[in-house]
Amino acid sequence: MEECKIRVLVAKPGLDGHDRGAKVIARALRDGGMEVIYTGLHQTPEQVVEAAIQEDVDVIGLSILSGAHMTIFPRVKQLLLENGADNIMLIGGGTMPEEDVQALILSGDAKALFTPGTSTEDIITWIRQSVYSGESA
């Protein structure tokens, strides 16, 4: 009888007003059968983490097209750790140079990053696989 539904928080941190990608992702994940909590624009890292805790999501997805990714991802990761909530997977997307993507993944500040042009199918598949493998592990 147990039904597990993947819950994802999609947020746009900072002053970045590019919300098209975030909305595209929110809709795609819904169509992929997930529950998407969309918190809209101008979120602080503190707000993102608090919402993620109350909503008990499996995944936080940050959409950043402002160039602020190198500060925001580490900050959110740090807050997750401080709150004992680093079981929540942190991913994201938007415009970011490849070397930044590699650096954030290497430092563990993001589990996966999807840059422009990634198909939403691929993103859905990745999230499903990662959440389910995390559970059985």
Binding site: G33, G40, D56
Partner: protein, 312 residues
């Protein structure tokens, strides 16, 4: 005691969040968790907010939360949005309007998808209310899906229910047609910063002249609000207090809660019975044969149903 329950009782919000998830997912621990929480429930005041999509339910919840926080009351919010019947997914966007409270530890907000339930709430909404009640919240606000025709669940869940309408819409007429007049303890004409609020309020009043609600001694007041400039919010809060006092004094409150409890118990019993019955039927060879007969038109559903009731 379940570790999560003791953590919740100590005020750990992550435990509260986790318990809601387990209950929502119908997890194995659900029964134990809810049984252990039950003695700690019954203290919170549950305020329901219903009305068409876009009427301003989330914005109103936000305004009310601001008001209650000024009085240092602790708040739980449960906001329900529709789950897509095709994919099982949902976009839960009510939080967008409540961002001012995101960092206030006195406010716990949880979004839920309906997950196939049709009465305007999710199946697990009532249970989530209990979790936040045991967590010690003074007031729990519940925002329904607001599809209009099927918002009856909230009546069986909340202590006081607000029906939110907008000026210049067909909301008034729709309300009568949909039969949700009876749900309202208080009518709110929101967006009163727009034209037509007085007209809408008068329309609702004249509907009320024709008859209303569940208790003949409570005529639902009609309150005009604007969540943009805050107009009417204190008056609305006043009306909520009046309803609460009326319902307490008249015994409505106790009766409503009694009925809710009874409904809950019978739901659980029916659930068990169903599961028990069908697991037995499923394992029975005669029944399999009967069903096969029916599909070949040698028997019929009524005959089979009678036989099932005889045997089990």
């Amino acid at each position: 005691m379940h570790e999560l329950v003791s953590r919740l009782l100590e005020g750990d919000r992550r435990a509260a969040a986790r318990i809601i998830t387990l209950v929502e997912n119908n997890g194995q621990e659900k029964e134990q968790l809810l049984s252990e929480l039950f003695p700690h429930t019954g203290k919170a005041f549950v305020l329901g907010v219903t009305g068409s999509p876009g009427a301003g339910k989330s914005s109103l919840v936000d305004s009310l939360v601001t008001h209650y926080r000024q009085q240092s009351l602790t708040i739980g919010v449960i906001a329900v949005d529709p789950t897509s019947p095709f994919t099982g997914g949902a976009i839960l966007g009510d939080r967008i309007r409540m961002q001012d409270h995101a960092l206030d530890r006195g406010v716990f907000i949880r979004s839920m998808g309906t997950r196939g339930s049709l009465g305007g709430l999710a199946r697990a909404t009532k249970e989530a209310i209990k979790v936040l009640d045991a967590y010690g919240r003074d007031i729990i606000l519940v925002e329904t899906v607001g599809v209009g025709q099927s918002e009856l669940d909230i009546m069986a869940t909340a202590d006081t229910t607000l029906v939110v309408l907008n000026p210049g819409t067909g909301d008034g007429i729709q309300t009568i047609k949909a039969g949700i007049m009876e749900i309202a303890d208080i009518f709110v004409v929101n967006k009163c910063d727009r034209d037509g609020a007085d007209k809408m309020a008068a329309e609702v009043e004249s509907m009320l002249d024709l008859g209303h609600g569940q208790n003949p001694y409570w005529r639902p007041p009609v309150k005009k609000t604007s969540t943009i400039d805050g107009r009417g919010i204190p008056e609305l809060v006043g009306a909520i207090i009046e309803h609460r006092e009326f319902a307490t004094a008249s015994g409505d409150f106790a009766e409503r809660r009694g009925q809710q409890l009874k409904a809950e118990v019978s739901e659980i019993v029916e659930d068990y019975l169903k599961k028990m019955l069908w697991s037995k039927v499923g394992a029975n060879a005669e029944m399999a044969q009967l069903l096969k007969d029916a599909s070949e038109r040698k028997s019929d559903p009524y005959t089979i149903a009678r036989r099932i009731l005889e045997v089990f």
